[in-house]
Symmetry: C2
Subunit: 118 residues, 2 copies
DNA sequence: TATCTTTATCGTAAAGATACGATAAAGGAA
DNA sequence: TTCCTTTATCGTATCTTTACGATAAAGATA
């Protein structure tokens, strides 16, 4: 992205793509699912489950925190992570609005019957 | 991704992250929404709407085609794109399964009450 | 045939994402 | 205090994404 054109898109689309980007790596999806299953858990438990190094897990957790999907609190020497329920509901809502917009988008025949356009 | 560890995650998580990656750029969200609004349209119409160059739009369209969300057919000198309704339904379904799994994931108090773990 | 229009692809540059080892930071245990 | 455990961060390497100009490809048009 040479000069980052992101700002020139609509806020709605930027918002949606940000949610999507948070989910755009299997490790982050796995982290979220793990947190959901255990209700909450320390970083170490996630590291054990995933096939990646501790530093990498920590980095993915940071991204999820920045996306707002996960909250982390310090628990003595370790730290406890859990899902942000409101954010997840918000994300699900936003994406479902998109899915509704896209539903029934193509009439299948609309392509082959158009010879001209513009 | 030095040696791409993607294969080591579960198929479910890889699948979800692939859907998400397709939506992880505002241009691609905008393209999908444009296609939905117009039912189908030629590449040139999309280029006019978006704040990016024609080559870049073509590249995003290619990614959407590879993700399976969009179908393209040649229409004389131009080409006609439209949404793949089944794929979009599938994507919406997959992601909503995830959202359900994540719903109610954190009891809020679960962090501060845990002193030990592992 | 020569030319125009439209789109895909190539080549390339720059930014971002991903991964990991090493190390710092901070609380708990001895 | 000293050491251990746990996690975040730094530094770095590499791959991927994004973007664009230039050009090729292919049908329409004159």
């Amino acid at each position: 992205m040479p000069i980052t054109k992101t700002e020139q898109f609509r806020a709605k689309e930027i918002r949606l793509s940000r949610w999507a980007k948070a989910l755009a790596h299997p490790a982050r999806v796995a982290i979220l699912r793990t947190l959901a299953k255990r209700n909450a858990c320390v970083c170490g438990e996630i590291v054990e489950v995933l096939p990646i190094a501790q530093a990498t897990v920590s980095q993915h957790l940071k991204e999820l925190k920045e996306a707002g999907l996960v909250k982390g609190t310090i628990e003595g020497p370790s730290s406890c992570y859990c899902l942000d329920n409101e954010a997840i509901t918000e994300m699900a809502g936003d994406l479902n609005v998109l899915f509704d917009e896209l539903a029934g988008g193509c009439a299948e025949a609309s392509c082959s019957t158009k010879g001209k356009s513009k």
